[in-house]
Chain length 211, copies 4
Amino acid sequence: MTSEGASRDTTGDGEPRDVIPTNRLESFSDGVMAVIITIMAFNLRPPAHNQWSAVAQRLPTLLIYVLSFTFIGIYWNNHHHLLRLTTTISAGVMWANLAQLFSLSLVPVVTQWVGQGADALFPASAYGVVGLFSAVMYFILVRAILRANHHDANLTRALGHDLKGVISPIIYAAGIGLAFVSPYLAYACYVLVSLMWIVPDQRLVRPQPRR
Amino acid sequence: MTSEGASRDTTGDGEPRDVIPTNRLESFSDGVMAVIITIMAFNLRPPAHNQWSAVAQRLPTLLIYVLSFTFIGIYWNNHHHLLRLTTTISAGVMWANLAQLFSLSLVPVVTQWVGQGADALFPASAYGVVGLFSAVMYFILVRAILRANHHDANLTRALGHDLKGVISPIIYAAGIGLAFVSPYLAYACYVLVSLMWIVPDQRLVRPQPRR
Amino acid sequence: MTSEGASRDTTGDGEPRDVIPTNRLESFSDGVMAVIITIMAFNLRPPAHNQWSAVAQRLPTLLIYVLSFTFIGIYWNNHHHLLRLTTTISAGVMWANLAQLFSLSLVPVVTQWVGQGADALFPASAYGVVGLFSAVMYFILVRAILRANHHDANLTRALGHDLKGVISPIIYAAGIGLAFVSPYLAYACYVLVSLMWIVPDQRLVRPQPRR
Amino acid sequence: MTSEGASRDTTGDGEPRDVIPTNRLESFSDGVMAVIITIMAFNLRPPAHNQWSAVAQRLPTLLIYVLSFTFIGIYWNNHHHLLRLTTTISAGVMWANLAQLFSLSLVPVVTQWVGQGADALFPASAYGVVGLFSAVMYFILVRAILRANHHDANLTRALGHDLKGVISPIIYAAGIGLAFVSPYLAYACYVLVSLMWIVPDQRLVRPQPRR
């Protein structure tokens, strides 16, 4: 409300008059990602009986949950940093963002699939397909934001050399292929991508000052 | 808080003194829609066994999920644009908004029903009934907002010729009827409505400047 | 952040220096209530087979869902109006609010219980127990807010003659008792309370101006 | 948006130029904690049949739900107070916060485990392990926030003698050990920690004025 009113009053110097603020897009995305993360926790089941063997049987489920939690956490982190630099959004950004959320919403089901049998080809490669899909959607979201902000020089510079953004889908694609050799090679790829992203993206954390 | 305080201080020129800000209505609606979207993702189940046939068996469930995700996404988009133009809400708007959310909360159950058997008459027409119901509730919400804002000329103009809002329920009604001929004709109708709305509503994206 | 910073800077004229803003309490409560409402929708199951008899079998579940959705909607509405008048909160308010949310979090399970067999004594009276419990918790929340705001005269006046707040628990208690005569008399009581509240609370919608 | 814009304009006197506001971290955490709390409510099941014995059978499940609800409520309370004192966050804080949320996301599954059989060793000690893990993650989060705020003297003083923060993990560890003697001794420990925290942390509720 406040920020909107403020942005509409802006007569602007080259700025578009009708700046759509990012706050509600952020809060909706936060909501969706928060639910995705906790729905996966909901899929965790207590061991069937009270013996070490039953507990050990749940270990792969827990490990893949850790990976998926980290996966969503990374996207939330990047989304946060990205939107923080964004001044305005467009209808295109809203749809690109929904597409991004759609791709992330498939994470719980592949997580559950892997939890049912981590040593099988299908779930191991399906997990990579969702990872690849999400990475591509993020790429599109970044492009949509740049376009909506008229390729704002600072934003472009801040998002400039997106090395990790280019490498990630390649490693996911490699993981999908390697799943045919061994599912565990595929998981190694997915863990690698996560480790790569946990180190925060320097471009965004220390953005160039606006002026 | 801030915005509220601000709006209460407004002595107003014809404006009602006690403007109820929209922010909490928005955040609650965001929360409900975020959960609806991810509850549907939760209803997706991994294939029962690891063969192409089992994967293929899940395909209709995935397709109807895409349609329902788009459906909720469209309502979120429209709701976002609509509330962005709204200055104040009333008790009537709050109830109309709850009725809108109620109608949307029925989407997951009909989605699941269709997922159980897309070629049957009942789920195909039930999906249309929920679509029609949601469209009518949106219509009522728009009217309630116009009334609460004393038919603000700018808002009225922005919401003026709501062609899509009038056509949508008609196509949904047609879909319900066509389900008796073939469920797939019904789905074609529902997809048509979605495609129609993905193109953003020009009335709202580029609103008339307030002054 | 903004509002907090603002409230801390306030040197205040009689106002306590460390005003705890209400925004995060509101957003957390919104989140919990949004999830409660949609979890109930998740408990709706599509008919077991595609015949009118199977659809009709789901009707009581749908009706009780409508009642519970309205129930949570009423609490959200009242919570919204109440917090809008609140300037500051205390630790006591935070715990009273959590107790309120706890009571509401029991609504889905009694709703499901009623859905399993609406004509039985136990679920019919359990539903009333949760309604009574929630009403008492709301009463406590209102008292905690009044105390935290040092019985602010305007707030006290606005919350003054809380007739509905006194009558509601009485009707719920009557419903619990009447369930022993007939479960349907109990449901009639619960519907009556909801109808009574759907009419917005005039005390809060048109608050006295602050100064 | 507003607060961000504001914080970026701040030329600062010793303040870092790029202050990352806390609001979105708070709203995401609120979302996750709200869903965790209500997912546990979703795990409550109505009694299998309508007799006192069936109702009584659900009592342990309800009691452990009350404990877990209180547990998450305490963390939300502390998180709220902690972030309210925080001016800026860093990438480290964002990851520490995600780790905190991860630890809390394990509460529903151990709650469910205890609900399946409260008198067994495994669930009783697993509950303590999650409690201990969460306490350690909170400790790390506090440290990360202090570091991100350059050990702001006021914040350090406010968080200074964190007696309860030190005692809690010790009692949890004791509970894990005592579970081998009797599960009920373990639960007594967990209840003790909760009671200790329900009394609000005086350090945070009445913070030192900033200047």
